[in-house]
């Protein structure tokens, strides 16, 4: 196995699961789209591997993932297909009890957020990125990131009010 392949495989083995989880949040639980996003991001990462700085693969992959998602959300067909009252993938939902029900509620609430607000919330509160980095990834002004995050959080609190109290750090 070539060095490039070996290094790439090691990285993917270690980080793929986390990328998938991030993609799930970005897509509000749409497992298929999340998997597509990750595959696309990893393919781009493989192509760019020689240029990726040592130790920078994680950030690069995350950036490609978010970029791909942001681009996707700007496509008309995405908007047509993404409109759904129900979570598109039942596999993650499971039986309605305890933590599963709570997770379902969170995913449903995320799905109810506009793409920009959901992306801002996930980037800020899941990936722990600062406003400047979010701004670059989302290709919007820092002020927009802040407002999208604030609105997203407010809406999440409203949507989840009956299920769980939300505290953002």
């Amino acid at each position: 196995m070539r060095r490039r392949d070996r290094e790439f495989a090691e990285f993917v083995g270690a980080r793929r699961a986390q990328l998938v989880r991030t993609a799930r949040l970005l897509t509000a639980g749409d497992e298929h789209t999340a998997e597509d996003l990750v595959q696309t991001a990893l393919t781009k990462l493989y192509l760019a591997w020689p240029r990726v700085e040592p130790g920078g693969a994680d950030a690069y992959a995350r950036r490609v993932l978010v970029n791909t998602f942001v681009d996707l959300t700007r496509r008309p067909w995405w908007r047509r297909e993404a409109v759904a009252e129900e979570l598109p993938d039942a596999a993650l939902r499971g039986s309605v009890d305890g933590a599963v029900a709570e997770s379902d509620a969170v995913r449903a609430a995320l799905a109810a957020l506009p793409d920009g607000q959901r992306t801002a919330v996930v980037l800020r509160h899941w990936l722990d990125l600062d406003v400047a980095e979010c701004s670059r990834l989302m290709k919007v002004d820092p002020g927009t990131v802040k407002s999208q995050t604030a609105r997203g959080l407010a809406k999440l609190r409203t949507l989840l009010a009956d299920d769980v109290e939300v505290a953002a750090r």
């Binding site: 392949d5 790439f8 495989a9 993917v12 083995g13 793929r16 699961a17 986390q18 998938v20 989880r21 991030t22 799930r24 949040l25 639980g29 497992e31 595959q39 696309t40 990893l42 393919t43 781009k44 990462l45 493989y46 192509l47 591997w49 020689p50 240029r51 791909t68 681009d71 496509r75 993650l92 933590a99 709570e102 997770s103 969170v106 995913r107 995320l110 919330v121 996930v122 509160h125 899941w126 959080l153 999440l156 989840l160 769980v164 109290e165 939300v166 505290a167 953002a168 750090r169």
Partner: protein, 278 residues
């Protein structure tokens, strides 16, 4: 009160098991290799397809310069010849129309194209050299972007330097062209050589030793004109058509590179299309 981070943690769902990860890694690796192969093939074919286009366009678009084909003494200016090409048997517009039709047949909508500046080419070991006529830099759709600070092609560094070249809005960027100034003349009077190296990424710096202008001529075994058209782009796809034609207006090869948002190069080899032969 539940921390949002904890909620997101749970909503992100479970991590896949070890066996699934191994399978996924293998699949990701295979996809990456395929994508790399497609890209490499696309670039290689585009480079090889560089066997014949634009002699058709050059005589009509750019003033003809006859350099006689002799290598100039070192440091005494450009030695890559730009010679009179054969008049095309078919007008360029007709060929472009053929390109558009051929692409359309393959389901690729082609917005109105713009024509990039044609370049002279000659084959050299491992690639194709291109020369730009004097005055082409920054005009006629050809522009050069300095690659390294202080070593830009348009800077004061007359000793050489390398840079990216773009023909049309994005054109040759997709081909990984590396451009090298080979002349010691002032920039505005200089000619340039470029070597298509499909396997290399932009940013590869060619050393002065490897890109002597006299080599371009002496080792060249074939020559002609390259045309590149940035056919246009829509929201997720851009269209670049590259073609080569020999000076005798034979062996036309036209390649269309279509790159979508996923970085996928879709190569359409139109070389066999009868409409594109002239």
């Amino acid at each position: 009160m539940t921390e949002l981070r904890d909620l997101l943690e749970r909503a992100a769902g479970p991590e896949v098991s070890g066996g699934d990860v191994a399978t996924a890694v293998g699949a990701d690796l295979a996809r990456g290799r395929r994508a790399l192969r497609r890209r490499t093939t696309a670039r290689a074919v585009a480079g090889v397809a560089v066997v014949g286009a634009l002699a058709l366009v050059v005589p009509r678009v750019l003033p003809t310069v006859d350099g006689g084909g002799d290598a100039g003494p070192a440091g005494q200016g450009p030695s890559v010849s730009v010679t009179q090409g054969q008049p095309p048997e078919r007008p360029a517009a007709e060929v472009y129309a053929g390109v558009e039709a051929a692409l359309a047949e393959r389901g690729l909508a082609v917005p109105p194209h713009t024509t990039g500046s044609p370049l002279r080419w000659t084959t050299v070991d491992g690639g194709l050299w291109f020369s730009l006529p004097p005055g082409a830099v920054g005009a006629g759709g050809v522009e050069m972007t300095p690659l390294l600070p202080g070593k830009g092609l348009r800077g004061d560094n007359h000793g050489g330097g390398s840079g990216e070249m773009a023909v049309g809005p994005q054109g040759l960027h997709t081909l990984g062209l590396v451009l090298q100034r080979v002349s010691q003349q002032p920039v505005e009077d200089a000619e340039y050589c470029a070597l298509i190296q499909p396997e290399r990424q932009l940013g590869y710096e060619v050393t002065d030793e490897s890109i002597r202008s006299d080599t371009c001529v002496q080792r060249g075994v074939d020559s002609g004109t390259l045309f590149v058209t940035e056919s246009g782009s829509d929201w997720n796809t851009r269209y670049v058509t590259v073609g080569l034609v020999r000076d005798d207006a034979t062996a036309v090869s036209v390649t269309a590179t279509v790159e979508d948002d996923f970085g996928t190069d879709v190569l359409v080899d139109l070389a066999q299309d009868p409409r594109l032969r002239w």
